[in-house]
């Protein structure tokens, strides 16, 4: 079984899948498609952790994989879809940059990460690419947060950053004590729920979820 993994570079394929779902977020016009891209990203992440668990035989990685799947793959998408339905958003993401330009910039970000991490921290372990992919996903998440106008897409960018961070932590540390992963997941879950609460408040107060209307406070 372990030889089969190494032969087919399964783990590398899945990690590239994580990167591609993040990049493709830039090209999507509809809010539901963006949520779907996030679902694919989280499922790929959980499957990756599961395969590493099978390969190294570490029992608590199985627990980590199932926890990740439960929170990011199932609970979070349910919450996101409920929120999209509740705020009755118009279905189109309104970006500041056109889709082709943001795709290009996302590609350039990936290229920058790959070239600047050639030396420096090399991960001992199953793949040298995963750290680069995780940093690229973090940067793409940040880019999505900056260039989108709706509050919900900012939350999605934050969730992508969190996925990238989780992958980075996983690749740097091979699974930390389970309580730590549990705590991080719980914290981010709480954070996103509170963000959802505030999106409803924004809609109620400003009658739109366009973040450009949040200009009351300034100097």
């Amino acid at each position: 079984m372990k030889n089969w993994f190494d032969l087919l570079y399964v783990i590398d394929f899945i990690s590239v899948g994580i990167l591609l779902t993040a990049v493709v977020m830039n090209a999507l016009k509809r809010l539901e498609s963006c949520v779907r891209a996030y679902i694919f990203n989280s499922w790929f992440l959980s499957i990756l952790i599961f395969f590493v668990a099978v390969k190294t035989g570490n029992p608590h990685l199985y627990v980590a994989a199932s926890l990740t799947l439960a929170t990011k793959g199932i609970l979070m998408p349910i919450f996101l879809s409920k929120m999209v339905r509740q705020i009755k958003a118009t279905h189109f993401v309104e970006p500041y940059l056109s889709n082709s330009l943001s795709l290009t910039i996302a590609g350039i970000l990936v290229a920058i990460v790959y070239t600047s991490l050639r030396e420096g921290i090399l991960v001992t372990g199953f793949s040298v690419h995963i750290l680069k992919i995780s940093i690229a996903v973090i940067l793409i998440g940040l880019f999505i947060m900056i260039t989108r106008r709706k509050a919900i897409t900012q939350v999605l960018g934050l969730l992508f950053m969190e996925n990238g961070l989780f992958l980075a932590g996983f690749s740097l540390t091979f699974g930390m004590p389970i309580i730590v992963e549990l705590g991080i997941l719980f914290d981010m879950l709480m954070g996103v729920i509170i963000l959802g609460v505030f999106i409803v408040q924004i809609r109620r107060n400003f009658s739109s979820v366009d973040l450009d209307s949040l200009t009351t406070l300034h100097d």
Partner: protein, 500 residues
């Protein structure tokens, strides 16, 4: 002992959420604040000499964390007492209902719990989780009034701090990786063990980790240029929460920075972190000074002043040496006394005048004799004039700068502090003196005309006026004399930071 300290605010939060009447909630709040203050004396006094551990080394307290814990306990004690009067007044005027009151007190104690956890944690990831927890809980408190400005402030706060903390966690992962590289196998997440192996961690890795951590935790502490959430959040929150945010939370985030700077100093020598802290500190002071001059909202002015003072604390830590670190730690305490005092007094101003604009407030000393006078004294203290406590700690930091020959820091510090002195005193002076507007003096007149109403008002809000006076007295005493136990706490904390 640490366990009980953590359980008390947690249990209070649950009790406050399910309590029925307003009197019940307020009694639970006051009793819990008093119990927390008394119970905390034991771990604080024992951990001054030797560290105490709990829960398989995941939580611990040493001299440094007991010092910051005592700051937290003091400010949460006075904030709990003050919120009884303040939120009670808002409840009486009908601005909030009983459900929101319950919600406020539950969140207040949950907030105190998360801050206590962040101070008492040994495991660096639990430290991160506690600070992210404070972000999540306090954003609910910042957006408490649910109007346009509060919701915008809360959104900005939670997004900016969560994004920065994600970078901070990435830095923590790199530190763990560096520790794993030292032992060739399992790394460690406990700060005490990390400090023992810090001198053999790879310097380049630590440099990278420190940049992420300084930016990540620095955003939470209020360093410029990532300070943008601070004026909005601290000005839109209810007054007791603003006091807690400015008085304790930014110090807790700075404690996180200190912990990692200690690790960095072992591995890289003190100049790298020192230079970074100096840059952030001077930038914060400069930007805060500029914005203080053009303010028209007194709560935002106090928030920018918090940015300036966290810059001063960073400068003190960046200068290093015994006196720099001593001055920086003393400044944490002094600022945590003066800033909540100012928030409390301006809270009364806001309740009386129903506005937060400096232009519209005049004659605070005549309308609110006790609170107005203490506000004016507090403003002189905040601006750094003797004989108050902030002057003493700023002087210590400046002396350390001169000893080390840091003339650029010295001159920039004095420039910014002087400009801020003028700006702050001008704005608050225009609020304190002058004739109050016709509407306010009419309403004060009418109150005295109704028999006995004036005395009744003094009796109602007696508790908060007493603590305002007590805090003002402490502010004056600490400016003239540092008591023995405080000096010992500070000496032990400096020893922890510079390494025995």
């Amino acid at each position: 002992m640490i366990g009980i300290l953590l359980l008390i605010p947690l249990i209070t939060a649950v009790l406050c959420y399910f309590a029925k009447s307003r009197k019940c909630i307020e009694y639970i709040n006051l009793v819990s604040a008093a119990v927390l203050a008394i119970v905390s004396l034991f771990p604080i006094s024992t951990s001054l000499s030797t560290p105490i551990f709990f829960l398989e080394n995941m939580l611990f307290m040493d001299a440094l964390s007991s010092y910051i814990m005592s700051i937290l306990i003091f400010v949460s004690f006075v904030a709990a007492i003050y919120s009884v009067d303040y939120m009670g007044h808002e409840f009486d005027e009908g601005m909030i209902n009983i459900k929101e009151l319950r919600y406020f007190y539950a969140l207040l104690h949950l907030f105190i719990f998360t801050m206590t956890l962040s101070i008492a944690s040994n495991n660096i990831v639990i430290l991160w989780m506690a600070i992210e927890g404070t972000t999540v809980v306090s954003s609910l408190l910042v957006g408490f009034y649910k109007d346009r400005a509060s919701v915008e402030a809360a959104w900005k706060y939670i997004i900016l701090c969560t994004v920065s903390l994600i970078f901070g966690l990435f830095g923590i992962f790199i530190v763990y990786y560096a520790s794993a590289a030292v032992s060739g196998g399992e790394g460690t997440l406990n700060w005490t063990e990390l400090r023992d192996i810090a001198h053999s961690m790879n310097p380049k890795t630590m440099k990278l980790a420190l940049i992420f951590i300084l930016v990540g935790f620095g955003a939470k502490a209020g360093f410029a240029p990532i300070h943008n959430w601070l004026p909005d959040a601290h000005s839109q929150a209810p007054t007791p929460i603003s006091a807690l945010l400015s008085g304790v939370l930014i110090k807790c985030a700075f404690l996180g920075i200190i912990r990692f700077v200690i690790l960095g100093n072992e591995s890289l020598g003190t100049s790298y972190c020192g230079r970074l802290l100096l840059i952030f500190g001077l930038l914060s002071m400069g930007i805060a000074t500029a914005f203080i001059l053009l303010q028209n909202n007194y709560k935002r002015l106090l928030a920018y002043s918090s940015i300036e003072h966290i810059g001063i604390i960073a400068i003190g830590m960046g200068i290093g040496g015994f006196w720099g670190i001593y001055g920086s730690l003393l400044h944490m305490l002094n600022h945590s006394i003066v800033k909540p005092l100012l928030f409390f007094t301006t809270g009364w101003v806001r309740l009386k005048y129903h506005t937060t604009e400096i232009d519209k407030v005049k004659g605070a000393i005549t309308v609110l004799p006790v609170a107005g006078t203490v506000m004016l004294l507090g403003v002189f203290a905040l601006a750094g004039s003797p004989p108050f406590n902030i002057f003493l700690s700023e002087y210590t930091i400046l002396k350390a700068a001169v000893d080390k020959g840091n003339w650029v820091t010295f001159s920039l510090f004095i420039l910014f502090a002087t400009i801020t002195f003028g700006g702050v005193i001008r704005h608050f002076g225009s609020m304190a003196f002058g004739k109050p507007s016709i509407a306010i003096s009419l309403s004060a007149c009418c109150r005295t005309a109704q028999a006995g109403h004036e005395k009744e008002k003094w009796g109602e809000h007696r508790m908060s006026l007493i603590i305002i006076i007590v805090m003002a007295v402490i502010m004056l005493v600490l400016g003239l004399y540092i008591p023995g136990f405080l000096n010992e706490m500070l000496n032990n904390s400096v020893k922890v930071i510079t390494g025995d």
